[in-house]
């Protein structure tokens, strides 16, 4: 039976899709058969970042409605073995995600995959609810700023009350992922520190991904940044996947590089 992992945040544009694509790719690279599903019906971003947008014939909604079967809709990644993508429909809206249909498709996939990664849309409405509904674990993606942290807090409340796991007396295992972290801006007080974020959300930290140009470059070229093995963001995602699978890895890229002036002025 597959483990279902939702990547969620509440606030939009914080790096869910970036995280879901690299996380799924990282799991697959380590030999785990993994599927990543785009729940952002109507927008469709995941296939762009995964670089398979030109191979989409059928999508998640087609499978839910029975217009296509899973075999037809799952797109095999060309670079990484064991990795499959289920794209979102661009022509439908979130009402197409009916709960029974989503459950049926996930159950069918669960027989065949080790991990199913659900890329949630922003917000706390139906699409986000369906993405987390059947999750076993959650990556809560947060940027180090007040509104993002607050939305993540809200989403943690939903994970604790609106998921199948929570309703049946269990709990979704929660992991904090802080992205777009810029240590120098934290030093200047323009961003919350890791400690602030951790204290407010009070869940274990799985990874910190630095603000990095490599993310934009790689998504423009349709490649999850984790495959960019020389970028800090790629390495941070690599660490994150390793920790998720139980390895111990120290945090990297969380301290500001000290420029000459910083040192002369005795900052930090």
């Amino acid at each position: 039976m597959a483990k279902i992992v939702v990547v969620t945040s509440g606030k939009g544009g914080v790096g869910k899709t970036t995280t879901a694509s690299s996380f799924a790719t990282g799991l697959a690279k380590r030999g785990h058969k993994t599927a990543v599903i785009d729940f952002d019906v109507g927008l469709r971003n995941l296939d762009l970042i995964m670089g398979c947008e030109r191979r989409v014939v059928f999508d998640f909604v087609n499978v839910i409605s029975g217009e296509a079967n899973l075999k037809q809709a799952l797109i095999r990644d060309k670079r990484v073995e064991n990795l499959y993508i289920l794209a979102a429909s661009q022509t439908r809206d979130k009402d197409a995600l009916d709960e029974e249909g989503v459950e049926r498709v996930l159950n069918e996939m669960a027989k065949d995959f080790e991990y199913i990664v659900c890329d949630s849309p922003a917000g706390i409405e139906k699409g986000a609810l369906m993405a987390m509904r059947f999750a076993d674990e959650a990556l809560v993606v947060t940027n180090p700023e007040v509104s993002s942290v607050r939305d993540s807090d809200r989403v943690l409340g939903m994970l604790g009350s609106k998921t199948k796991k929570a309703e049946s007396g269990g709990s979704v295992k929660e992991h904090l992922v802080v992205t777009r972290y810029a240590p120098s801006r934290v030093g200047k007080g323009e961003m919350l520190s890791l400690q602030d974020v951790g204290e407010i959300l009070a869940i274990p930290l799985l990874g910190v991904v630095p603000e990095s140009e490599a993310v934009l470059n790689s998504s423009n070229s349709g490649m999850p940044v984790i495959l960019e093995e020389h970028s800090n963001a790629g390495l941070a995602y690599e660490d994150l996947v390793a920790r998720f699978l139980g390895e111990e890895r120290p945090l990297r890229f969380v301290d500001a590089k000290r420029g000459l002036f910083g040192r002369l002025l005795g900052r930090h």
Partner: protein, 231 residues
């Protein structure tokens, strides 16, 4: 011993009363759900059947009219309400006294202040050992609330008795929600949006910044909330 809430209706204007009740309910969603209620009014002209119908649509359960005038008595019976001739008989002995047995009118703009009742002594304590997140509300009806984790900004914790938070309080905390003025709030790290005891409240802006981040005890002294730092 049984306790019941009394809704004090001081205006004959149904629209005004409805708006006020709705405000109270929206402020504390869930708090009033299916709450049995007695009505008391000096406004003889109020349209009782309409008021009762309105309260039911908002999830309240009006049971009877307290100490009605003879005309009101007839109207109450017609509206399907019971009639309680003397409100004093309904009060538990340990009712915190003072301002005319703590009647709260619908104008009282305090969170969860639309009804009043004393918590029954020795009743259950509610223990929450997970963070209370933004958008969530926890209510310990008839007793104390203990939270062993943080209460987030945008979350609300309410007790008829005391509220104890063994963590940071960043949201709202309301103790003595049904009028117990001896109720207190304790927390390890005080960063609250709002605190209230027995309907008397303070918002973050009105709180001395020097107590922020400190462990505190909050109690009611007459009409004012006292926030004591407990190092």
């Amino acid at each position: 011993m049984m306790t019941l809430s009394v809704l004090e209706v001081n205006s004959p204007d149904l629209e005004e009363v409805s708006a006020e009740v709705s405000r109270q309910i929206e402020r504390s969603p869930g708090f009033f759900e299916n709450m049995p209620l007695l009505l008391h009014t000096r406004a003889a002209e109020i349209d009782l059947p309409a008021l009762v119908a309105f309260l039911r649509t908002r999830g309240l359960v009006p049971l009877g009219l307290v100490a009605p005038s003879p005309e009101q008595e007839q109207a109450a019976v017609a509206a399907g309400l019971g009639v309680l001739k003397d409100a004093r008989n309904m009060r538990p002995e340990n009712q915190p006294d003072g301002d005319d047995a703590g009647e709260t009118d619908t104008e009282a703009a305090a969170p969860a202040g639309g009804a009043e009742e004393a918590p029954p002594p020795g009743s259950g304590t509610k223990l929450v050992d997970k963070p209370v997140r933004s958008g969530q509300q926890v209510y310990a009806r008839g007793g104390d609330l203990i939270v062993t984790a943080p209460v987030s900004e945008g979350a609300e914790v309410i007790a008829d008795g005391h509220v104890h938070i063994y963590g940071a309080l960043r949201g709202r905390a309301i103790a003595g929600a049904r009028g117990d003025s001896k109720a207190r709030i304790f927390c390890r790290k005080f960063e609250a949006d709002l605190v209230a005891v027995a309907g008397c409240y303070k918002v973050a802006d009105d709180i001395d910044p020097s107590v922020r981040g400190k462990p505190v005890r909050i109690s009611l002294d007459g009409e004012s909330l006292i926030i004591d730092v407990q190092e």
